[in-house]
């Protein structure tokens, strides 16, 4: 049944759940990369930039455009930590858990952040404001512990500074 339906429209059921606009956006991205399979990771980055995550329906759509199997497209999607299947919170806070930051107390900073935000790593606050994630090295090891918020790097982050930074991004968003 499902096979017949897909053949009829040329679309995978997951694709149909996306609206025309979304499909056009995805197509424009793959076309910009000339539907080249080696650009798959760049394509995923751009889809995620456009949607905030990679919608389920994007996978079969991209697979067909690049002439790769859906299994390959999914395999790449699941391999890389960066790509998400669900939207993140409005702000993404990444805490470095690697050795240099460990030497400067990132274990207790991580515990503080979890307790303060009331969430674990990989989770989003119930108001949808903050997603907390682990990261392994931000290249700021002379100014450990390091945190990245919405792509911006911060160094020497203690609990007080963490609070100030989080309050700051929330305020920026509100204003």
């Amino acid at each position: 049944m499902e096979v017949a339906r897909r053949n009829a429209s040329g679309m995978h059921p997951a694709e149909r759940r996306l609206d025309e606009d979304a499909l056009a956006k995805i197509d424009a991205i793959t076309e910009r990369h000339h539907n080249q399979p080696d650009a798959l990771i760049e394509i995923y980055h751009e889809v995620q930039d456009a949607f905030g995550y990679i919608p389920e329906g994007a996978l079969p759509r991209i697979a067909r455009a690049l002439n790769i199997s859906r299994a390959e497209a999914r395999g790449v999607f699941t391999f890389y930590h960066d790509f998400r299947a669900e939207p993140a919170g409005r702000h993404v806070v990444k805490i470095c858990r690697a050795e240099s930051c460990q030497a400067m107390g990132c274990r207790s900073l991580e515990a503080y952040a979890k307790q303060r935000l009331g969430i674990g790593l990989g989770e989003t606050t119930s108001d949808g404001e903050i997603t907390l994630e682990a990261v392994y090295c931000l290249g700021n090891c002379a100014l450990s512990p390091a945190v990245m918020i919405d792509g911006r790097l911060y160094g020497k982050v203690d609990p007080d500074r963490f609070d100030a930074l989080v309050e700051n991004v929330k305020r920026r968003a509100a204003s």
């Binding site: 080249q36 798959l40 790449v76 240099s100 030497a103 002379a142 390091a146 911006r152």
Partner: protein
């Protein structure tokens, strides 16, 4: 004439407020009716002084730091624009001992020039190496690199010239040059600093590699955790193309070389060269068995030069000033300089480029000033998450590939993470296994399964369960991972684990006993 200031745009400097300081200085100058030019340079690598503000004076640049926006008014009052005295003042930047006592070849321009100004780059010796390479036959360029003794700065230490010769001698319709800028090791930031602070140096080194081997296309694989480096490199490539330093006919030489940036997606394993190739081809970053070596069958199956950022960036100096000049630095079979990175619990963290032969103690104490916490140092992890933990008694070791290998350790990418006496070495050993389990590509069993088992075994040792037997299991497991893994991820994870056990056995005593004793 308007005063000229340098305030780093480097992401680490900005992580402690360089943008805010630049804005505060611009605002204060406007309020006082003073006109000034602010150049956003790279970092000098003295991160303990960031944000570092430098003023150009006829005598040289005068440094102030670390500056906060609250200091700005006082700096103006003290006449800092004329180099006036102030508690944050350090005098001439070049005379600060931390910088003066270095031997900067690869990082000579970083923090000095405007990173994206080609004029600045060329005025400071940029492209002299490529100009020289364009006058030489490819084999002569390779011979020069070989004679310099340069070895892979990414960590493996393979002779760069031999790699290049293999690619040069390979017959193919297409060859590639790939730069591994997936700097995922904790304690390292030199690649990021160079890409943000002197991006044309990397472009020049890669272009020389192209000229030397007959490769006409290059890729720089940069980790997604480095958004600023990605932005700067892309801008630099576009500007080099527009000025005829990249593209179809480089400076009228009739030779061509194209370059593009590819962004990683948060996978540590993609710093392994064959996993990086898979990722560049748009696939899961799983490791490829070797042989075939990438120099013969690399990107898209074609002969490929793969080097780290620092290896490529070392090459222009070698071409410009000759192999002998470069090889005169260093010791034994470790020639030239290595940009060491002082990180972790260290008072003066930053980048220290020194000739091989410098000791750990000189780096940790003379440059680094000991721990940031003021407590006694206990251990250094040298060479990233796959490097050994070394006790203070081994701080006498001199930095060269062979000396470290003889001590079951490695120099790696030159990153050094200092820990004070509050560190729990069992916890560090456990983390090494945990990290391997998180980041393993899953291709080979010793790494994929061994790392998870490693965490469990260490937990049992900590709990005092069958201690002797589990210590044996851990040693056995580490041996299997070392001998049986496809790549350095699983193959070297035992290094931090076993070094922690060897040098800090007291931390592997059962935890209950410790609690009971307290």
């Amino acid at each position: 004439m308007a005063a000229r200031l340098y305030i780093p745009g480097d992401s680490a400097a900005c992580s402690v407020g360089a943008d805010e300081v630049a804005a505060a200085i611009a605002a204060e100058a406007a309020a006082r009716g003073i006109s000034l030019t602010i150049v956003r340079n790279g970092s000098r690598g003295m991160f303990f002084l960031e944000p570092l503000v430098e003023i150009a004076t006829p005598e040289g640049r005068i440094a102030y730091g670390p500056v906060t926006p609250a200091d700005v008014k006082g700096l103006f009052d003290a006449g800092f624009l004329e180099g006036g005295p102030h508690p944050l003042g350090h005098g001439l930047t070049e005379e600060i001992p931390y910088l003066k006592n270095q031997e900067r070849l690869t990082f000579a321009r970083c923090g000095v020039i405007d990173p994206l100004s080609l004029d600045d780059f060329i005025a400071h010796g940029g492209y002299a190496g490529l100009q020289k390479a364009l006058t030489l036959a490819p084999a002569d360029v390779v011979a020069e690199v070989t004679a310099s003794g340069l070895r892979g700065r990414g960590g493996a230490g393979f002779p760069t010239g031999i790699k290049w010769k293999t690619v040069l001698d390979a017959v193919s319709d297409q060859k590639y040059v790939c730069c591994n800028a997936d700097e995922g090791d904790s304690g390292t930031f030199a690649d990021r600093m160079l890409m943000e602070g002197d991006p044309y140096a990397l472009i020049e080194g890669m272009t020389i590699a192209g000229m030397a081997t007959g490769a006409t296309k290059g890729f720089i694989y940069i980790r997604s955790e480095y958004p600023d480096a990605i932005r700067v490199m892309k801008q630099a490539i576009a500007m080099a193309e527009a000025s005829g330093w990249l593209g179809g006919d480089i400076q009228g030489s009739g030779r061509s070389f194209d370059l593009a940036v590819r962004t990683g997606a948060g996978a540590y394993i993609c710093g392994e060269e064959t996993a990086m190739l898979e990722s560049l081809e748009g696939r899961r970053g799983t490791v490829r068995p070797k042989p075939p070596i990438p120099a013969l069958e690399g990107l898209f199956g074609k002969p490929t030069v793969i080097n780290n950022v620092l290896s490529f960036a070392a090459v222009p100096t070698i071409l410009e000033r000759g192999a002998k000049f470069y090889a005169d630095f260093g010791t034994g079979r470790s020639r030239g300089t290595l940009p060491f990175q002082l990180a972790g619990n260290i008072k003066r963290g930053g980048l220290v480029e020194k000739a091989f032969g410098v000791t750990l103690a000189e780096l940790v104490y003379d440059f680094g000033g000991g721990t940031a916490s003021g407590r006694p140092a206990r251990a250094v992890q040298m060479g990233g998450p796959l490097g050994a933990y070394l006790p203070v008694s081994l701080f006498t070791l001199q930095q060269d590939y062979e000396t470290f290998a003889e001590n079951s350790a490695m120099v790696g990418h030159g990153g050094l993470v200092l820990f004070d006496d509050s560190v729990d070495m069992l916890e560090q050993a456990r983390f090494a296994m945990e990290f391997c389990a998180i980041e393993s590509c899953g291709k080979c069993t010793p790494c994929r399964i061994g790392s998870t088992r490693g965490v469990e075994v260490i937990d049992r040792i900590a709990a005092g369960i069958d201690r002797e037997r589990n210590l044996n299991v851990l040693a056995d497991l580490c041996e299997t991972m070392t001998d049986g893994s496809l790549c350095a991820m699983g193959g070297l994870t035992p290094m931090p684990v076993m070094s922690a056990l060897r040098h800090f056995p007291e931390d592997f005593e059962p935890r209950q006993t410790l609690d009971a004793a307290e």
